[in-house]
Amino acid sequence: MSNNSASGLVSLQKSVKQLRNEAGIRRIKVSQAAADLKTFCLQNAHKDPLLMGVPSSDNPFRPPKSCALF
């Protein structure tokens, strides 16, 4: 590309601006974030069919043990 130096300059300016923005955001500790993720998982675990397994009669994809044909 003929305008390599100019586009390099523009993209450098953009990346410096982006990095300044990112450096300024607020962060929390991993221990707190991890604890929140864990709480969410455990609270919703009972609602998760793939985790808990559902009885065959409720799950439309698992075939019931016996089929009655009329």
Binding site: R27, I28, V30, A33, A34, D36, K38, C41, D48
Partner: protein, 395 residues
Amino acid sequence: MCDQTFLAITFGPCDNCSQNKPLMNIYLKNEPINYCSLCVELMACQGLAKGETIHTLKVESESLKAKLEEERGKLHDVELHQVAEKIEALGQFVMKTRRTLKGHGNKVLCMDWCRDKRRIVSSSQDGKVIVWDAYTTNKEHAVTMPCTWVMACAYAPSGCAVACGGLDNKCSVYPLSLDKNENLAAKKKSVAMHTNYLSSCSFTNSDMQILTSSGDGTCALWDVESGQLLQSFHGHSADVLSLDLAPSETGNTFVSGGCDKKANVWDMRSGQNVQSFETHESDINCVKYYPCGDAFATGSDDATCRLYDLRADREVAIYSKDSIIFGASSVDFSLSGRLLFAGHNDYTINVWDVLKGTRVAILFGHENRVSTVRVSPDGTAFCSGSWDNTLRIWA
């Protein structure tokens, strides 16, 4: 896949010198500016503050990156799996293929569930897009696209339309009709226009807007009715391969991942890149939000999946094993977020315990690469699509 071509979305009169040239699409203070490349050069030189040169900018860029690493490192006081030590381990998993959807003539590239939890749309390399009823395995609709490699497909929230696209660089929306005889291709509406292949698309919370990502390195938000570009997102330096919208409670953001190994989080209203994560060692093939919206997972060609927490602004877990050497093409979470399903290029699907970081199951069955994995909206099953031309429903 393709080298990034010159980012010229339009050709026309430059805002500054009024000559007809290819326009570089750049943004100043969130306003799009259509300048030709010569005017961009001149502006860039004028825009330098006193004493700024390429050298000083590079030095500042390096020091900012180091500072970011340091800030992120300070908060890294514990690993996720340490926090999860006291939780009960998961029992043995028995997941089997419950349905096999056969009908595609070539590799299945993408699929999506309908909100009614039973319909599925899938697209393949031969240009066919098929809508299935997953309970009965019947095909309800079939559309032939004018291009091959339909890499993206999505179901509208209402269930009345599907969007798809690929090598045609466009995203087209097809309204689904109940009349079997109606030719769906006739009602097609072209919504998005990119300058390279369409890698992923998704409807936002309504049928009215679509978010797309493309091999041209950009993502874009479009209005379906008018086809107008509402917002575009620039920041990736290579093809964007995947995107995912934040679950509705957490607001207007989405995450995208691409061949530049970066995962970027964007604000949909302003177009700003709010957070960026670069710890993968190769292309990121798939990104998926955690169900609560505070984290997201990525699957990459470096054979690992990683979990990034948005509030801690860093990677918090890596899901990898020495025995897994093939890239992960697609990932998805179970409803509670405890399980992570990853489809790999070695024909298997790995199931991970998200909190403990251990693998709980490997699912065999496909006879070629697994290209897409999605959990159903109510979490009762998940569907995988593969290069062996079939889709499998597992429960």
